[in-house]
């Protein structure tokens, strides 16, 4: 059933400080609306009071320093794709951005929103996990940096407090010379929700894989970084598929089956390791 529009409130505070005050009073953040408006239209948006943060410049911009690239949480998929440093050094993120929705979604969907929507099928989080992203969480009482790998604690569960907002995403610039691989498998190339999403990066020394990062979407209650598979690969790449099968927990649902997801995930791992 459609939502009763007058029951909802949406306000646009003039600055970040006012927005954080409202979050402290129980209001919820609203950015580009690409997830929230879908729930709203379906009559499934439980919260009623929202703060539009879309106009807050404090949460925008991509900053490049010697050691890091720091992205405002409101960075859109379109902005990610257009940024030369992200395209060159963080191609998995640029590719994830280009394969999320279509142009209209990419203009409005934000990285911060993709993170806090906490879908296990989200497309940019596997790339963020591979790049060891850190998140800055801010509230009226201050700010803290956390490793993104510790952020999701269960299906739609995260360590974010209700008074907090994801403000920035920081990526260390230390992946030069690595091989990057991203593949999203869905029903079609654009506008699809993933059946399996794979992001990986590896560094070779001669024939040996010296270092590797692997993260997947749509194969567990959250997007997951696959530490055990990474360790297995460093010991002996032949054990990779077995390790991955133990580490992921795909399910049957409306979009795919557990069996198909497991098969595709191991195939993608194989393709990645041949790079």
């Amino acid at each position: 059933m459609r939502a009763y529009v007058p029951a909802y409130d949406l306000v646009a505070p003039g600055n970040l400080d006012q927005a954080l005050s409202l979050l402290g009073e129980g209001w919820k953040p609203f950015a580009g609306g690409t997830d929230l408006m879908v729930l709203f239209e379906a009559g499934k948006l439980a919260d009623k009071k929202f703060v539009s943060i879309w106009g807050l410049d404090e949460l925008r911009g991509i900053e490049v320093s010697t050691d890091h690239v720091t992205l405002g949480a409101l960075t859109t998929y379109t902005e990610v794709q257009r940024h030369p440093v992200l395209r060159r050094e963080f191609p998995l993120l640029a590719q994830a951005a280009s394969e999320t929705g279509g142009v209209a979604t990419q203009n409005r969907g934000t990285l911060g929103g993709n993170i806090v929507n906490a879908s296990p099928a989200a497309d940019s989080p596997p790339a963020l996990l591979v790049y060891d992203a850190e998140l800055e969480l801010i509230s009226k009482s201050g700010s803290r940096w956390v490793a993104y790998s510790t952020f999701h604690t269960g299906y739609k569960q995260m360590i974010l407090r209700s008074s907090e907002l994801v403000a920035r995403i920081r990526l260390p610039r230390d992946r030069e010379g690595w091989t990057h691989y991203y593949r999203k498998v869905g029903t079609r190339r654009a506008q699809a929700i993933s059946k399996v999403c794979f992001a990986g990066a590896l560094r070779r020394e001669g024939d040996r894989i010296a270092d590797v990062r692997i993260a997947l979407g749509s194969v567990a209650p959250t997007v997951i970084r696959c530490h055990q598979t990474e360790e297995a690969i460093k010991r002996d790449p032949k054990d990779a598929a077995t390790a991955l099968a133990r580490e992921i927990a795909p399910i049957d649902d409306i979009r795919s089956s557990a069996l198909y997801r497991l098969r595709v995930a191991t195939n993608l791992l194989d393709q990645f390791l041949r790079r």
């Binding site: 306000v11 609203f30 239209e41 929202f50 879309w54 379109t78 929705g101 142009v103 209209a104």
Partner: protein, 191 residues
């Protein structure tokens, strides 16, 4: 509580009293009577409701009214004559008789006082190409397709085939199989 929404739609200042979470799609169709913008899926999957907000392509079904305050919005009604790329071709004249220009009418006839049609009533090159190359069947996706194509040509005047496919990837059509639409956009970029 309702808010006052002041914005510019197709170059005209508009004002409406709306709920802040009202969908821009509904504001355009029901408050402003601009029914050219269509609702397909209502969840950002099909692109039928595409409009331009401050030059960016968006799904108006996912766009809350509050965020449109002060915005410059272009709907399909505003695409005509948005750029003077194309004079109406023979098919457009057949389908849209009002595009016949005054000088072709007998002097002193009923249309004489209207003079030559201003640029703002010429079809956009993309619209002209959709007409000539059969880019529309039922018409439900067409306004969104045209907005997506116009936006693409604004950003990339001479797109590659891949760029065209990518530019239209967010717009679903259940009639044409896309080939005619794709061909129309290819033709629209030709000098």
């Amino acid at each position: 509580m309702r808010i006052e929404l002041n914005c510019t739609v197709n170059g005209v200042a508009r004002r409406a009293q709306v709920y802040p979470m009202a969908r821009l799609l509904d504001v355009l169709r029901e408050e402003m009577r601009l029914t050219g913008t269509k609702e397909g899926c209502g969840e950002g999957e099909c692109g039928a409701c595409s409009v331009l907000v401050d030059g960016e392509l968006v799904n108006s079904c996912l766009f809350p009214a509050l965020q449109a305050v002060g915005a410059k919005i272009t709907t399909i009604e505003g695409v005509v004559g948005r750029t003077p790329w194309s004079a109406p071709g023979p098919l457009a004249r057949l389908w849209l008789p009002s595009f016949d220009s005054a000088p072709e009418k007998p002097a002193g006839g009923p249309a004489a006082d209207q003079g030559v049609r201003p640029t703002s009533e010429k079809l956009h090159a993309v619209q002209e190409a959709f007409l000539l190359h059969g880019g529309a069947q039922c018409g439900m996706c067409t306004p969104g397709m045209i907005l997506a194509a116009v936006n693409l040509l604004d950003r990339v005047p001479h797109p590659t085939e891949a760029e065209i496919r990518n530019g239209l990837a967010g717009n679903l059509c259940r009639c044409t199989g896309y080939i005619k639409i794709f061909e129309a956009v290819v033709k629209a970029c030709e000098p």
